[in-house]
């Protein structure tokens, strides 16, 4: 009895003078009957989807970068098959002796033919087009510009037609596009946050207008600006919490459906775009941030309005 009733009294009374339900009741509560929770729900749902997209892209890029960070490709571009084979073997020998190389693999011709088949047709590659010899290299460190240049210089002596490329370099345009999409997602999240704040600002102003008499009474009875702001903060906070919960549920459902659709693509790069536990926790924090934005906006709006009174 004691603990429960003490807690109930605290909820009713609030944690500061003239807070809690007693203060909040000064403003008629519409709850889900009003537009505020639904506006917040839509904003939170859209923010969750946009943020999930941004996080998935981030994960995708990080997975691809991690996979390709130590990767380099040596191409031996020589038209004559015998000379090409000779240089390729010399490259393999040099790579085997290089302490900076963790591993290497000569891509078999059959594999190259399979890669080229969609463009050149079956069996045509070896006969008509001189296909470079390809060696997939894993460096012990990052395949940065310095490492690639060093390897290129080392191989030039034994295989003058060898060309070394960092594997990540090939995907640089893709990374660039994904980074742009990430910025777009961040911009969307910021815009949605601003829109939510604007919606709360309008709602708070509307509530202020329709409760002007009550505010003036509390003001004239000695209510402080902070007390008056708390009345509205609490009301807006409830609405935002309700809307945030609904919006989170809708947003998470949308993310799960989209995730399944992308997972079905079974593409190597997309597979790295799954959401981790911290990502899900970040998404779960969006309605909390939404409530904070709503409460702060309501407070600032109300304070700005009541400061016009004496």
């Amino acid at each position: 009895m004691t603990r429960t009733s003490a807690l109930n009294r605290a909820v009713v009374r609030g944690l500061s003078p003239f807070g809690g339900d007693r203060a909040a009741r000064l403003v008629p509560q519409a709850r889900l009957a009003g537009p505020m929770p639904w506006v917040i729900a839509i904003m939170v749902a859209l923010t969750v989807v946009a943020a999930a997209g941004g996080l998935a892209l981030q994960n995708m890029v990080e997975a691809a970068r991690a996979e390709l960070s130590g990767g380099a490709t040596v191409q031996v571009i020589e038209a004559f098959p015998a000379a090409r084979e000779e240089q390729a073997r010399a490259v393999e020998t040099a790579l085997a002796a290089d302490p900076a190389v963790a591993s290497y693999r000569r891509v078999p011709e059959a594999e190259l033919d399979a890669l080229l088949e969609p463009w050149l047709g079956v069996g045509s590659a070896d006969a008509t087009v001189p296909v470079p010899a390809l060696i997939d290299v894993r460096l012990r460190g990052a395949a940065d510009r310095a490492a690639i240049d060093r390897l290129q210089t080392r191989l030039l002596d034994v295989a003058p037609d060898a060309r070394v490329d960092a594997q990540s370099g090939w995907l640089q345009p893709v990374f660039g596009a994904i980074t742009s999409l990430q910025w777009l997602a961040i911009a969307l999240v910021v815009l949605l946050a601003l829109t939510s704040a604007a919606a709360v600002w309008l709602a708070a102003r509307s509530a202020l207008g329709s409760n002007r008499n009550t505010i003036e009474i509390v003001h004239l009875l000695g209510g402080t600006d902070g007390q008056i702001a708390r009345i509205f903060q609490r009301s807006v906070g409830y609405d935002a919490a309700l809307g945030g919960a609904v919006g989170l549920a809708i947003g998470i459902a949308g993310v799960v459906v989209l995730g399944r659709q992308f997972a079905a693509l079974a593409s190597g790069m997309v597979a790295g775009g799954g959401l981790t536990l911290p990502d899900w926790l970040t998404l779960a924090a969006i309605p909390v941030a939404g409530v904070a934005i709503a409460v702060i906006t309501a407070r600032l709006t109300v304070l700005a309005a009541v400061r016009r009174m004496l």
Partner: protein
Amino acid sequence: MSDFDSEIVAFDNVGLRYGTEGEVLRDVSFTLYPGSFYFLTGASGAGKTSLLKLLYLAQRPSRGAIRMFGADVITLPRARLPAFRRRLGVVFQDFRLVSHLSAFDNVALPLRVSGVPESDIAKPVADMLDWVGLSHRHEARPATLSGGEQQRVAIARAVIGRPDMLIADEPTGNVDPEMALKLLRLFEALNRLGTTVVVATHDVHLLKKVPDSLIMRLDKGQLSDPTGALRYPPRAAHRERPAS
């Protein structure tokens, strides 16, 4: 500045105008002392409500100086005014009850604003509602109360916090003579406890019912004080009244 350090309110050449209109109050100077009972009279449009607005800190004057509880409320930082308002009890002419709160919650409002614990609110509010004859209507919303009942709720709200100064704008305008007398006795009881009372009224019969009261008469925005009793009241009179 007055030579009485115990003054509760002092107006010095106060003027008030709304917008670009002419002054509704002109050169108003007077001093109110603790424990005194004042009637503010005057014809409609004389400026009674404007003067009361200045008294209950809803309005700043256009000119002049106002001291209240020892402080210059014109230059006082805005954040400090709520503490002064909590020392006042106000009965508004239009009652100004919160429409969606019960009579009980309306009366309890000043206590809650002042941070009185919830456990210390129920009894005084119930007693006050009982005193104004509305204990049976404690859950009623203002819209379901008659004009007289609303007025009694407004009076109960104004006096529940035992204010240092009670300001009442036509407090008996909507009640029958018997209730009017009863309310006047409540004001007198508060006055005897040390509360300064300012009652604006048209009712000349009311003035006679509080023999020791001082009368402030407003005429076209100017306070008539032919004897100077308001600006310079007898020192002994205002000091002895609270103890009487």
